[in-house]
Point group: C2
Chain length 582, copies 2
Amino acid sequence: MNIKKYLPILKWLPNYRLATFNQDLLAAMIVTVMLVPQSLAYAMLAGLPPEVGLYASIAPLLIYTVFGTSSALSVGPVAVIALMTMTTAGNIVSPEGEAYLTTVILLTFMSGIMLTLMGLFRLGFLTNFLSHPVISGFITASAVIIAVSQFKHLLGVSVSGHSLPGLLVALAQALPEMNLTTLLMGSGTLLFLYATRRWLGPLLTGLGVSRAIAGSVGRLAPILAVLVTTWLTAQFALIERGVAIVGEVPAGLPPLALPSTDVSLWQQLWVGALLISIVGFVESVSVGQTLAAKRRERIDPDQELIGLGCANLGSAVSTGMPVTGGFSRSVVNFDAGARTPAAGALTALGILVVILWLTPLLRTLPIATLAATIIIAVLSLIDVHAIKHTWRYSKADFSAMLLTVVITLLQGVEAGILAGVGLSLALHIYRTSRPHTAVVGRVAGSEHFRNIERHTVETSANLLIMRVDESLYFANARYLEDQIQTLVSQRPKLEHLVISCQAVNLIDASALDSLESINLRLMDTGIKFHLAEVKGPVMDRLDKVGFPQRLSGEIFISTFAAWQHLKAASKNHHDDLEVSEI
Amino acid sequence: MNIKKYLPILKWLPNYRLATFNQDLLAAMIVTVMLVPQSLAYAMLAGLPPEVGLYASIAPLLIYTVFGTSSALSVGPVAVIALMTMTTAGNIVSPEGEAYLTTVILLTFMSGIMLTLMGLFRLGFLTNFLSHPVISGFITASAVIIAVSQFKHLLGVSVSGHSLPGLLVALAQALPEMNLTTLLMGSGTLLFLYATRRWLGPLLTGLGVSRAIAGSVGRLAPILAVLVTTWLTAQFALIERGVAIVGEVPAGLPPLALPSTDVSLWQQLWVGALLISIVGFVESVSVGQTLAAKRRERIDPDQELIGLGCANLGSAVSTGMPVTGGFSRSVVNFDAGARTPAAGALTALGILVVILWLTPLLRTLPIATLAATIIIAVLSLIDVHAIKHTWRYSKADFSAMLLTVVITLLQGVEAGILAGVGLSLALHIYRTSRPHTAVVGRVAGSEHFRNIERHTVETSANLLIMRVDESLYFANARYLEDQIQTLVSQRPKLEHLVISCQAVNLIDASALDSLESINLRLMDTGIKFHLAEVKGPVMDRLDKVGFPQRLSGEIFISTFAAWQHLKAASKNHHDDLEVSEI
C-alpha cells in the first residue's frame, strides 16, 4: 500500500495493455517532435549548450514515469524555469565560462533535493505563499523579459542583461551591428508563426475542418519553420552571411555529472533553487490537476513533489537543467491520447534516438528560428485578461500583482517573486488585522441576536454583547483589545461584556494573551468578562491553561443563555432595556 | 477636531488645574530620581557616552507631552532598545570610534521617521507581524544577552560580542584580568538589589506596612545603591584601585545634531531602524494600554506612533538615542499619581536641572553599580512562566518562541526577530492552508444541515453539500481544489456540488481563480457547481467580475433552498435518499 503510494508506477504497470501502449506511443511521437526544438531553445534561453536541453529531456522523463501521478504531464525544460535558471546562475558566474554549467547542474540538484524533501515531509503548503496574482504577474513579466531577450538573436547581435531596462539599452546600442540576413529570416519566421497561430485555426474551422485537427495543424507550424529554415540555411550557405546556427550537437548518451560540493556555491544558490522549485511545482501541479480533472482522475500533490524532485535529481546527474511539467506540451500529450506516464518514458526514448543518431540534422538550424519560436510561445503567457480581471475584482490583489510585475521587470525574477510574496502576506495580515465585529442585540421575543446597527433589537446599558467574525490570532489580537477598550470607554454603566465566538475557529497564544489582558483590564474597572458559543477544540485549549478559572465572568453555551443569565442578575438594579433602531 | 486628534495636548491643557499640576509634579520628581541612573546605564548598554542617555531624556519627553495620548507613559531610553541600538550600529562601526555616535543619531532619526509615517499612513497594523510568543521569546533572549554583557563591568574587564557564545568565550578568556575591588563592589550591589527586590517587600508587608508603600521602598533600593557606592568611591579613592567610574559628564544643554546624509549608511540601517521602531512601539503601546484601562481611558495607537516618532526625531536632533515608553518607569509614574502627559514634561525639566548643575555628583558613580542595576532590571524580563504557558497552550506558538530565543542568542537580535516573524507567518499559512471543511447532510425533517461524520443525517448520491469553515484566500485555495477533486473522484453518481459559504468572510483573487477552475473542471465531468449562503460583501465582488454568469449552477440563499431545489430536480431519475449514521 505504502510502496504503491511512493511508486505510483506499480498501480498502472501491472494492468498495462497493448491498446494503451499504442495510444501512449502515438502521443509520445508527437510530443518528441515538439520537444526537440523546445529543448534546444530553452537550453539556449538558460545560456547553456543546446545538447543540455536534450539531456534534460531523457532521464527526468524516465524517472517521472516511475514516481509521477499524472498520466498526461510532459516533464522537461520550460521557458520560465529556463529564465530563472539563467538569472540565478548568471548572477554568480558568467554564462560564457566553464563554471556556468557546473553551477546550473548544482542548481538542478538542489532544486531536486528541495522538492523531494518537501514531498516527503508534506511541506507542499509552502507553495501556498505564492498567491495567484503574484504567480500571474511574475509569469507575465518573465514572458516580457524572455521575449525581449530573444530579440538579440533576431537581430544577430550579442547583448546581455537580466532586467528590462538593461536589455533595452543594450539592444539599442547594438542595433548598428545587426545582421540583415538573420533579421530577415528571424522576422519572417516570427511573422509566419504569429500568422498561423492567429489566423490558421479560424481559417481551417471556417473551411469546415474540425477544431481538434485545426489545432493540431497549428501546432505543426513551429516544426515546419524549423525544417524550412534549417534546409534554407544549409542549401544557401547562409552561415557565410553571418546567420548563427545551433552547430555541432555532440552525439551520444548524456555524460554523468557530480554536483559541486562547494559550500559557498550552495549558500549563494539556495534562494534561487527554492524559488525555481516552488514556481516549477506550481506550474506543473496546476496543469496536472486540470488534465486529471478532465478524466475524473486526481493527482497527489505530495507525490508530485517527490516525482518532480527525483526528475530534477536525475537531470542533474545526467548533465541536464531544471525541469518541470510544461503547459503546452502536456496539453498536446493529453490531446494526442496519452493514457499513462509510459508516454513520457516513450518520449524519452524518442529524444534518445535523436541524440544518438539524428544530431547532424540539427547542425544548420538557425538560432533566430529558435528565438522566434520562444517569442511566440511566451507571448501566450502574457495574460492581459487576468490583469484586468484582478483589477476589477480586488485592488489589493491587483497591487500585489502590479508590484510583482514592476519589480520583476526592473530588478529581476528573484526580487519580483519575493516582493510579491511579501506584499501578499502584508495584505493578508492587513485584511485580517481588523476582523469584522458587531455589537449585537436580541431580536425581540426570539433567541436570535443581530447587529444593532442594522436591525431593531433589544440592548441593555449594563450588558454589551460583541460578535467577532474571524479567528483570533496574532494579526488581530491587539485590534480586539483596542476595540473593546473603545467600546468600554463609551459606556459608563457597563457591568458585563460578552464575546460571542461562533465564528472563532482558532485562538492562538497571542490572542489568548490579549484575552487575559482584556480580562484583567475589565476586572480593574469592575466589568465582568464572559464568552459565549466557544467551539469545542478552542474550549479544550483554553481549559488546558486554566483560562476559564481566571475569567472574571462565565462561558455560556449560547448568546441567549448569556443574555438570560446576565439580564436576570442585573434586574434588581434598574430596568434598563433599550431598543436601538436604524 | 482634526487638530486635536494630531495635537492631543489641546484636549487636556485648557482644563489643566493646579491640583493636577501638584500631582504631576510629585510623580515627575520620583521618576526623575529613577531616570537619572537608568539613562546613564542604558547609554552605557548602547555603547554611548553617559550624557547621551540624559540628552535622550529631555527633548523626547517634552515632545511626547505635546503629541502623546497616554497620561502615564514615561518615555526615554529602555534596556531592550538600547541593546538593539548597540547591535545594529555596532555591526556597522566600532563603538570606540567617532562615527559610532553619528550612526546612532541617524538610527534614532530613521526610527523617528518610520514611526511618524506609520502613524500618518495608519500602518500600525505592521506591528501585528510580531506575535506575542515572538516578542516574548525575543525579550527573554535579549535580557539574557544584556545580563551576560554586563558581567564584564562587574569583573572590571573589557570584552565585546553580540551573541551569547561569543560573550561567554570572551568573558572566560578575560577572567584572569579581573579587578577584585570592582568585583566586590559590583557583586555586593547585585546581591543587595536582588535581596531587596526578593525579600524586602514581603518583609515589610509582613510587618504590617501597606503593599503600595512596600513597593515604593523597594524601588528606592537602586537609588540608595547609587548614592552609597558613589560616596564610597569618592571617599576611599577607589579609582586608584581600578574601579571604573562614569567620569566627567559635560554640563550644559544637549548639543544640536544633524543626521548624516550618507546614503549607504541609510541602506545599512533601515532594517535595524524598522525593527527598533516596531519593538519599541509594541512595548510602549502595551504598557500604555494597560495603564489607560485602569482609569477607563484609552490611547490612540496611530497617534502613539506619531508621538513616539516625533519623540525620536527630537532625540536625534538633540544628540540622543532611540527612546520609547518604558515599562517599570511608566508604572512608577502611574502609581505616583501622574494625571496628564505634563508629568513627562516636568520630568524633562528635572533631568535638565541635573545636566545643567548636578553632573559633578555623578562623576564617581561606579560603572559596576550601573551594571548591577541593569542586570536586576532585565532579569525581571525573563518570563519563564510565559514560556511554560505557551508550551502547554500551543506547540506551534512554542516553536516560534523557541526559534526566536535560540536564533537571538546565537545570531543576534535582528536575525532572531526575523526568524520568529518568518516562522509565525509560515505557521499561520500552514494552519489556514487546510481549512476545516465538512460534508453535510440534512437533519431529517428540519432545515438544518450537519456534518455527516458526526450526525445521523440525510444525504443523496447525486448531491454533495460541503461546508467550508474559513475565508478562502491564497493559502488555502489550492487545497480546496484538491479536496473537491478527491470527493468527486469517489462519487461516480454525483450531479450537483454545493459549497455552503456561511463562514466565508472573504474570497480573494486566488480563491476566485480556484472557484473558476473548479467550475470548469466540474463542467468537464458533467457536474453542476453551486454556492449557498454567500455573504453580501463577498457576493458583491463575485458579481463585479460576472462569476455567477459563468457558474454552471446557481447561488442559493440557503443550504436548505439548494437541497430542496436540487433534490426536486433529480427526483425523476431515482429515489436515492440515503441516511448516513455514525
